[in-house]
Amino acid sequence: MSAKIDRQHRDSIAVEDCEIIANEAWPGNQWRLRLRSSTIAARALPGSFVHLRCDPELPMRRPMSLMRAEAGVIEMLYKEVGHGTRLLAGKKPGENLNLIGPIGRGFTPVPERPFNLLIGGGVGIPPIFFFAHHLQRNPPPGSDADSILVLLGSELPFPFATRPAQTPVPGAVQDPTLIDGAAMRDLDEKAIASRLASRSGFEGCHFGHVGDLARLWLDGLDRTWRDRVAIHACGPLAMLEACVALAHQYDLPCRISLEESMACAVGGCAGCTVRIRKGTGVTMQRVCVDGPVFDGRCVVFQSELRNEDASPTNSSPLVDKTL
């Protein structure tokens, strides 16, 4: 019997002490952290994350997405929001951080959908950036070199260099920002189309939410064009809900990366579960190992729960058998 048991998950997550190469401050209390890593760097995939010790003083780790993983280096982007990230911001090159990772099921292309619309907001940008590079290097069947559009939103100054876009946005584009707005330099240099949105009035950026910019782009496409598109998004909950609403409106597949408080990050504590629709029922899935990327159209958002009586003891659940 034991031969039939699937134990592929075993040993998939490494524990690694990683030396800080740089911990760089960007405006708006945002930081870009580069670490030396062998195992995690080699195994990381877009959308996967690490669980790291910001400081030995803290009893718990903090989950953080990977922005880049190559040649023995991993990079992260984080915002100082509380005690842990504040301590992390004080770390200097040469110091070590203990990480476990890479963790989770990340972004993957959707079959039959060769065009990928990637939407990132705030510190949700890292996995989107990672996925864009990954798609360019590993184009899914039917994709061309210009089958990616990255739309990024932030109310804080963007934590990366921007420039007037040189890579044109694919599709039938009319909006001025989509035609010749600003782009993320790193992506633009690699000929990956990107555009920016903000309500803070930054130059070259669409004035509004990134979801609105996505809508402008989708509105300009004809039906056959749109049927080739899949949405992938990571960012604040309101942005993700807007992306799922867009996906419903245009009938597009939509994958979103979720955040939830975590203790173990390996599937052991059920601290990070979210409700996912399955058939006519609901299953509890763990953001850490069943996600963090889920089919957005199946996610039950807290805002929906508040509108119905969804006391856990009243519903008759379909529960994930792995936990």
Partner: protein, 317 residues
């Protein structure tokens, strides 16, 4: 990563007739259903003498609203709310996937009525599980749980009915949220407990002062981790005095993160020690604690870990 088994021979111990390779027990609710931590490279179920599976109820439960976990000074609060797929799914789909050659597996059962506890014990008696732990101390459910555990009469009734349903080793997990844990322990022993787990989490809460809302979705939860260690240790000390004359062993737990912590609990009277929250910070903590225990025994020229159980010297001697 697993140290040479010969080095670890001194850690072998017998617990209620079960052979434990080391006195470490991975605690319920921290390691899912036994496979989750094996994702970690260097982690092995063999580094623990036993693993307590996630708290299981008769019917599936979705658990509480998020957030369910929250860091607190030197510890954490949780309000998972016993999310689990229900006894039938655990027995039919999860137990067959476990590798019983790696370690001992203990079911952790929670009912909302006395009858449910009996039904659960009966279901698991007819399963390959090595032992049954009765959780009468879960702070995160409305019915049963800690409400039973803090009521000595109810505790005793739960133990009695479960005892009738199973011949497997029966471990009763006690609540620290009660005035006289020792007398409750005595009642459980008289009702047929084979062992005691001391203790479950302490009830607690945390508030976001900006929104003036509780930080846990459920409002309150259970406190674990180093923050509770001195209190948990005292509970073990108190329970050991009543358990010792009956030869009833204790799984001491609450905030253990090092070999020294584990030794404190064993000296206070625990035959085995639980590791829960510590795993979240250091998933390879068991390897480290096992090594520390072996080293301690060598330094003190003691040939078996059992020999230190309950060896607390009184201060005035």
């Amino acid at each position: 990563m697993t140290p040479d088994p010969h080095d670890r021979r001194s850690l072998r111990t017998d617990f209620c007739g079960l052979a434990f390779d080391t006195p470490l027990v991975l605690l319920s609710g921290c390691v899912g259903f036994g496979e989750e931590y094996t994702r970690i490279e260097g982690f092995s179920n063999r580094d623990a003498g036993a693993i307590c599976l996630k708290g299981t109820t008769l019917h599936p439960r979705l658990g509480n609203d998020p957030p369910r976990v929250r860091e607190t000074p030197s510890g954490m609060l949780n309000s998972i709310g016993l999310q689990n797929p229900g006894a039938r799914a655990v027995i039919d789909e999860i137990l067959p996937r476990l590798d019983f050659s790696e370690t001992r597996f203990i079911a952790n059962l929670s009912g909302s009525t006395v009858e449910e506890y009996a039904d659960l014990a009966r279901c698991f008696d007819d399963s390959p599980i090595d032992a049954i732990e009765i959780n009468i101390s879960c702070p995160n459910v409305r019915a049963g749980g800690v409400a039973f555990g803090n009521d000595p009469e109810m505790s005793q009734r739960v133990v009695e009915v479960c005892r009738k349903e199973t011949s497997k080793p029966l471990i009763i997990k006690l609540s620290p949220n009660q005035t006289d844990i020792a007398s409750n322990a005595r009642g459980c022993i008289e009702a047929g407990a084979d062992a005691l787990a001391v203790v479950n989490t302490f009830m607690g809460m945390a508030i976001d002062v900006e929104s003036r809302k509780p930080l846990l979705g459920a409002g309150q939860g259970g406190l674990s981790g180093p923050a509770i260690k001195p209190m948990a240790l005292l509970k073990v000390h108190q329970v050991y005095r009543v358990a010792k004359p009956h030869g009833i062993p204790i799984i001491g737990q609450g905030g253990i993160v090092s070999a020294e912590d584990a030794l404190e609990f064993m000296i206070a009277g625990a035959s085995a020690v639980g590791i829960g929250t510590a795993l979240f910070y250091d998933p390879l903590v068991c390897v480290r604690i096992n090594e520390g225990l072996v080293d301690y025994l060598k330094r003190h020229r003691i040939d078996g870990i059992d020999r230190i159980v309950g060896t607390l010297e009184s201060k005035d001697r």
